[in-house]
């Protein structure tokens, strides 16, 4: 900072006026500043007594990141389910078709297949051919 003799009149006057305006603060403002200061000091004491609280935001962020990574890396998400099925197991769509159709009769739904069977002289599915 400038020493007093190096201060110009503008600097000296500015500082005097500013100091006077600080001294002239009203009681309510002083009181609110005092309360704010007490709250800040209490914060230091709280942080000192519970140092783990300082790491709380970082721990929360790390937990969220960990959960995200686990979910992202978890198998079976967005992949073909048959890729993880045991070898020799029926395809999922076959199982679904069998499960949903109570009366499984290809010939009644596909006349072309019936014609093909007759041409080859093979017995039909109901054993009449």
């Amino acid at each position: 900072m400038n020493t007093d003799e190096r201060w110009t009149g503008t600097e000296r006057r500015s500082r005097e006026l500013f100091d006077a305006s600080v001294e002239g603060l009203d009681a309510e403002t002083r009181s609110r500043l005092n309360r704010a200061r007490q709250a800040a000091v209490a914060e230091v004491e709280r942080a000192h007594r519970n140092p783990w609280r300082m790491w709380l935001p970082a721990a929360a962020a790390a937990s969220v990141a960990l959960v995200a990574v686990v979910l992202w890396r978890m198998p079976g998400d967005g992949t073909d389910p048959s890729a993880h099925a045991p070898e020799g197991a029926p395809a999922a769509e076959v199982v679904e078709m069998l499960a949903t159709s109570g009366d499984f009769d290809v010939t009644s739904e596909d006349p072309g297949f019936y014609t093909w069977l007759a041409d080859r002289g093979l017995p039909a599915a109901n054993g009449t051919g």
Binding site: M1, T8, G9, T10, E11, R13, S14, R15, L17, F18, A20, S21, V22, G24, L25, D26, T29, R30, R32, L33, N34, A36, R37, A39, A40, V41, E43, V44, E45, A47, H48, R49
Partner: protein
């Protein structure tokens, strides 16, 4: 033999006492130092914030936030570091407040019958009159001179305002001002020189 062993033991015990400070005492010292520091700067910080944002409640919020942030994040740091850190936090708070106001005025500026900053305050003509003191005339003159200074400061570029307030009004040295503003010491000197020149031209040597 026993005597020398007990002497060694006593010396070690004393060294252990020196090396392991009492945590409660450390806490008390830290809290006391911080309270003393904040008590010394809080009113000046409030006036700086008030000059920048021109609103008492906003200025109080800014100072309160700066105090809490200093205590929470830097309370355990050496007290010699607090001053530049505090003013840096304070100016960040001022900047955030000014940005919020800009955004708010842009949003509400489009609405018909939008309010201005002064509209929500009931018009009390005596509210801004200075309290009568022992020498009202002198106080009034000082108040008017301060208003002229504030108006001249408000017309300066932001960095020049900051450097003038921190260097001249707050008495920070060049290195502390540079640390508080996050710039080089050379920039501090340049900004201060320009700010002083402009203020002198606008206000006169002694106004």
């Amino acid at each position: 033999m026993i005597g020398s062993a007990s002497l060694v033991f006593a010396t070690l015990a004393r060294l252990a006492d020196v090396d392991a400070p009492d945590p409660e005492k450390t806490l008390l010292d830290s809290a006391t130092s911080l309270e003393k520091f904040l008590a010394g700067v809080e009113r000046r910080a409030f006036r700086i914030a008030q000059m920048a944002v021109r609103d008492r409640d906003d200025a109080l919020d800014i100072v309160q936030g700066a105090m809490l942030r200093l205590a929470r994040n830097y309370g355990q740091r050496p007290s010699a570091e607090w001053k530049p850190l505090f003013y840096r936090i304070l100016y960040n708070g001022i900047r955030d407040c000014q940005r919020r106001r800009t955004v708010r005025s842009r949003i509400f500026g489009f609405l018909p019958g939008s309010f201005s900053e002064d509209d929500d305050v009931p018009g009390d003509p005596f509210e801004r009159v200075a309290d009568p003191g022992p020498d009202p005339v002198r106080q009034l003159m000082a108040g008017e001179a301060m208003q002229r200074l504030e108006a001249a400061l408000a017309r300066l570029p932001t960095r020049q305002q900051q450097v003038f307030v921190l260097r001249c009004l707050e008495g920070l040295d060049v290195a502390e001002t540079a640390a508080a503003m996050g710039c080089a010491e050379g920039s501090v000197k340049t900004h201060y020189f320009r700010a002083l020149q402009t203020l002198r031209a606008k206000l006169g040597e002694v106004w």
